[in-house]
């Protein structure tokens, strides 16, 4: 990863900081009630307020006070509604702008070409189709609803099968958010946060980061790599259990023992062909995956089939999110930068750019 000096970073991120300050200012400004006129309740409020004053003036204290109280409640209700609506709009719009600005800056900083896609746009645009919102500076930003997200060049069945293999959940059960796509040499990648949020499984049932890599050439077999938790925890008995699990995988396979003891400590490999497994899992690639396992505090699941490699980092982190209402602007920039840098580090560690990995 490219290292920047503090001054360089400050200079590069100054516009973003300005945008974030603007966002905070917009939110604060939204607290001032606007658009009260023209709203039916406003007419009621305007009629009731003088009426209450009139009754008080006439000595009808109870009636006047009740009407004034009602007026106050209507005013509060209108004000709250307007503020909430405006803050929500500002939030949605600002988040898009901020993340888009950020990725644009990050691409400049790291000299990578990534795109950011999010499903949030459908809240703003109320559309269920891909919508381009910005283009330029070597980037194309577009939003689309998560339900429709699926990379190109993959059939629905294949996508579903790969997703189930690495997460245990199908497409209908998972929400995909903060989708980032890009190209690393010859290999196209798609990254997103996945969770079972808002689904029948409940919010915290499953969370993870999914990295999907699309290769030019196609594999002639299957390879499935999972954390070696069972053997690590259960020793001989665990190994026996692993064998029973592999029979439930959606393809014919066997457990393949690799020639790297360090890799074997972290992963178990299931595959259709020992030579194919050794062909893909070169010593260097195994070193990279071992490094990834050490670097990430996540369980890592990998499925290789045809032209696709699906890598699931199962963790509870919520990446590419920020809460500007609570945190300081510099803190949020640091957090966002960490998230992007972490993704870049994963990509660089796996080094799937075919200089380190063979696909036949």
């Amino acid at each position: 990863m490219k290292k920047l000096s503090t001054q360089e970073r400050e200079r590069l991120y100054a516009p973003l900081e300005k945008a974030l300050h603007q966002y905070k200012y917009d939110v604060a400004k939204a607290a001032v009630p606007k658009g009260l006129w023209g709203f039916p309740l406003n007419i009621m409020w305007l009629m009731l307020f003088p009426m209450g004053l009139y009754l008080l003036n006439k000595g009808k204290i109870a009636g006047g006070a009740t009407i004034l109280l009602l007026t106050g409640l209507i005013y509060w209700y209108i004000r709250r509604g307007v503020i909430l609506e405006q803050i929500k709009d500002i939030n949605d719009t600002a988040k898009f702008r901020v993340i888009n600005s950020f990725i644009e800056l990050f691409c400049k900083e790291q000299n990578v070409r990534w795109e950011y896609v999010t499903y949030h746009a459908y809240l703003e645009f109320k559309e269920y189709e891909k919508k381009h919102i910005a283009q330029g500076n070597g980037m194309e930003l577009f939003f689309l609803p998560h339900e429709q997200y699926m990379p190109e060049n993959i059939s629905e069945e294949e996508f579903e099968e790969n997703l189930k293999s690495v997460s245990g959940y199908g497409r209908a059960d998972l929400v995909m958010d903060d989708i980032i796509t890009g190209q690393n040499g010859e290999v196209a990648f798609h990254y997103c946060n996945v969770s079972t949020y808002n689904k029948e499984y409940g919010e915290a049932a499953y969370k993870g980061e999914l990295l999907m890599l699309n290769f030019k050439n196609s594999l002639e077999g299957h390879l499935y790599i999972a954390p070696d938790t069972l053997e690590k925890e259960g020793g001989f008995l665990g190994k026996g259990l692993q064998k029973s699990i592999h029979s439930s995988l959606p393809f014919e396979n066997e457990i393949i023992t690799m020639d790297s003891p360090e890799f074997e400590k972290h992963y178990v490999v299931y595959g259709t062909d020992k030579i194919l497994a050794n062909y893909i899992l070169t010593p260097t690639f195994m070193e990279n995956l071992t490094e990834l396992a050490k670097m990430q505090e996540s369980d890592i699941y990998i499925r290789l089939y045809k032209q696709w490699m699906f890598i699931m980092l199962k963790n509870s982190d919520n990446k590419f999110e920020f809460s500007l209402d609570k945190g300081d602007v510099p803190d949020e920039i640091v957090k966002m930068h960490q998230d992007f840098s972490n993704l870049l580090r994963i990509i660089e560690t796996i080094d799937f750019n075919m200089h380190e990995m063979n696909i036949r």
Binding site: G185, E186, V187, F215, K216, N217, S218, E220, T257, M258, D259, K274, I275, L276, A277, N278, Y279, T282, P283, T284, F285, N353, M354, H355, E356, M357, N358, I359, R360
Partner: protein
């Protein structure tokens, strides 16, 4: 009496398990031998083309080319032992490596389209052979462990199983080929 029968049954079951276990290991090695042979054959098929292309340019390396051709003939002979096969594979690998280094001294040959194509295929085939060797070595290591470790070593000795040779893996086989050099194998 029942205890004796029970103990004998357990011993017989253990013997059957050990026998099947060793047969399984032996068959795994034999399967891998067949797969290694298939990948090695890809290299043998490539050698005549390679020799034909480079011999037009390489005047001073005739002996290397003759050596490669001779090694190919020997390696393709039927009935050679696994030990001989491994030794020939090592010699062939180093001779082909020498040819590829020599190619660097011939700019015309280096730029020749046929040569570039052959280099790409050879690179890919070498990567497949490297994978096959590693898979073979892992399987043979499991087999060798099984015939040398207690208690299966006793059964292995009765079955006259012997240690098998491993391929030596060159350090440069840790490096990988670029996607540009890779072709989709059939």
């Amino acid at each position: 009496m029942i205890e004796l029968f029970g103990a004998l049954s357990v011993i017989v079951l253990i013997l059957i398990w050990m026998y099947n276990f060793l047969i399984h290991k032996k068959n795994e090695v034999e399967n891998l031998v067949a797969s290694v042979d298939t990948t090695l054959k890809k290299r043998f098929d490539l050698i005549p083309n390679l020799v034909r292309v480079v011999s037009k340019y390489m005047e001073h390396e005739k002996n290397i080319l003759e050596k490669v051709t001779e090694l190919r003939v020997q390696a393709m002979k039927s009935g050679i032992t696994q030990k001989e096969k491994i030794s020939l594979d090592q010699k062939l690998s180093s001779s082909l490596g020498a040819i590829m280094i020599a190619v660097e001294s011939y700019p015309d040959l280096k730029a020749n389209e046929n040569m570039l194509h052959l280099q790409r295929i050879l690179h890919e085939v070498e990567a497949q052979i490297a994978a096959a060797r590693r898979a073979y070595n892992q399987t043979v290591t499991n087999y060798n462990n099984a015939i040398e470790m207690v208690p299966t070593n006793m059964m292995a000795s009765m079955m006259k199983y012997e240690r098998k040779e491993l391929f030596s893996i060159a350090e440069n086989e840790r490096e990988n080929v670029s996607i540009n050099d890779v072709s989709v194998a059939s």
